[in-house]
């Protein structure tokens, strides 16, 4: 265990050192840019109430609200899609097209259509999350193992129990894959939408830092976003293991 911890600490230290060497060298001679080792000073300077409230919490609030709305509506839509063969077959090409469209392409068009409001960002995050979750859930439920359905028929399960326990329950792992993909896209869409349409949130902070050549602020934002992503992933995997553990039990 201690060897494992030592190796992982060494890895993090090596990563930080590599970043300093990589960026410090070529950038040090540039009058517009600050080297990466100024990150500590930047953390001290930038990590104040304004950053936390105006940027970090704003991103978390908007992103999480959109994600939760999109995830719940995506599960419902996925279940509805899987209910009839006709509906799933009719919607399949549209959903495949929608999933193949990069969310980065949709964001500017949707902002121009819906306007520069925070509700637009929530809507965008919800819509992209819903799509990811609905496609994964719908396809998984439609392809439920036939022997499970046969067993449900033998035991005379009612339609609701067949849908929720057999179809949904047996595909819970796949549903979580869709929810995880939705979480990843939700973070990206939130930041891009903030950069293009808002003056609050980490996306807007990144764009402002880029336009004013604040490389140290960009590094700071990268670390904050990386840690945020790690935290969300850890929470997600904790919830996933709890729910899947219960479902297996």
């Amino acid at each position: 265990m201690s060897k494992r911890l030592a190796l992982q600490s060494l890895a993090i230290a090596a990563g930080v050192a590599a970043a300093i060497v990589f960026l410090g060298g070529p950038v040090a001679g540039n009058p517009f840019l600050n080297p990466a080792w100024e990150l500590w000073n930047t953390i001290g300077r930038e990590l104040d109430g304004e950053f936390l409230g105006r940027h970090m919490l704003a991103t978390m609030k908007t992103g999480m609200l959109g994600y939760l709305l999109g995830a719940s509506s995506g599960i419902v839509l996925g279940i509805v899609i899987s209910l009839t063969n006709f509906l799933s077959q009719a919607l399949y090409p549209i959903l495949i097209w929608a999933r193949a469209t990069p969310s980065a392409a949709i964001v500017p068009v949707a902002i121009a259509m819906l306007g520069f409001y925070s509700s637009t960002i929530v809507f965008l995050v919800a819509a992209t999350t819903m799509l990811n979750v609905a496609v994964t859930t719908g396809l998984a439920l439609a392809q439920t193992n036939k022997s499970y359905l046969d067993v449900a028929q033998v035991y005379r399960f009612n339609p609701v129990k067949r849908l929720l326990v057999v179809r949904f329950g047996s595909n819970l792992k796949v549903v979580f894959i869709g929810l995880h993909a939705g979480l990843q896209s939700a973070i990206g869409v939130t930041l891009l939408a903030e950069a293009l349409s808002s003056d609050t949130g980490l996306g807007a902070y990144i764009l402002f830092s880029l336009r004013t050549f604040r490389l140290d602020n960009l590094w700071f934002a990268l670390v904050v976003i990386g840690l945020m992503g790690l935290t969300f992933n850890a929470i997600f995997h904790f919830l996933e293991s709890r729910v899947l553990g219960l479902s297996h039990g």
Partner: protein
Amino acid sequence: MNSGVRLRSAAVGFVGLVSVPIIWFLADLLFDSPGLPSVVEVAQSLLKLIAGVPFWLALGYTLLSTLLGLVLGILVTTAVAFTFGVTRAGDLLIRQPLYFVRALPSIAILPLLLASIGSSMLVGVLFVTLMVLLKSAVFIFRGARDSFQRAREQISVLGIGFLDQVRFVVAPSALRTSAMGARLGGSTAYGASIFAGIFAGLPGLGHQIIVAQVTANQSRAFALVVIAGLVGVGLFKLIDQIESRFSHSNVGAQ
């Protein structure tokens, strides 16, 4: 699935696809929405787009940067994975940094590249390569380690020389892992290429979309999004076919 069922499924899918413009047309007649262009305007813009050379150049650049970035990213990641990631110590060293970088979205990486190196076509390819590397690294490292362990067991049984080990055991394992990594990295590469156009103004479909948006040409922007989706479908089908050819198995949609 027999041919009758397949035909019926395709027919129903076609009905679903055709119903979208019809519903859009009816919605436009019933509700007055200034931000939503009519389906006829979008169709006209689409025809105008595909008749012009700039669109094909933009599409060519997007596909070039996507495929180049994807291939480079997968090659670099596989080479690093099969060199350093196959031992337990290497795996432990690299696992946490990989989980950290995997969580980073495009918007956290591209501004740093732009501020450090500047904006050029080469930066676009470099950015796509980097994003593919970051997103597929965890999977490729895991695949490399599993493949290498299996390969080592085979090598010990067969008792073959070093070059034959590389030729018959390690290289096929690396190829299979790379092909599966390419399937995972495909959507990342395409998304990153479009994103680079939108955020940094690099040439490609993304740049055309953002230009259409800032000039308030909504019908053109919609047409470009439709095309971006269709190109994405084609690209992922192609990558899927390449992957299944190399891996000799289809691991399913997930």
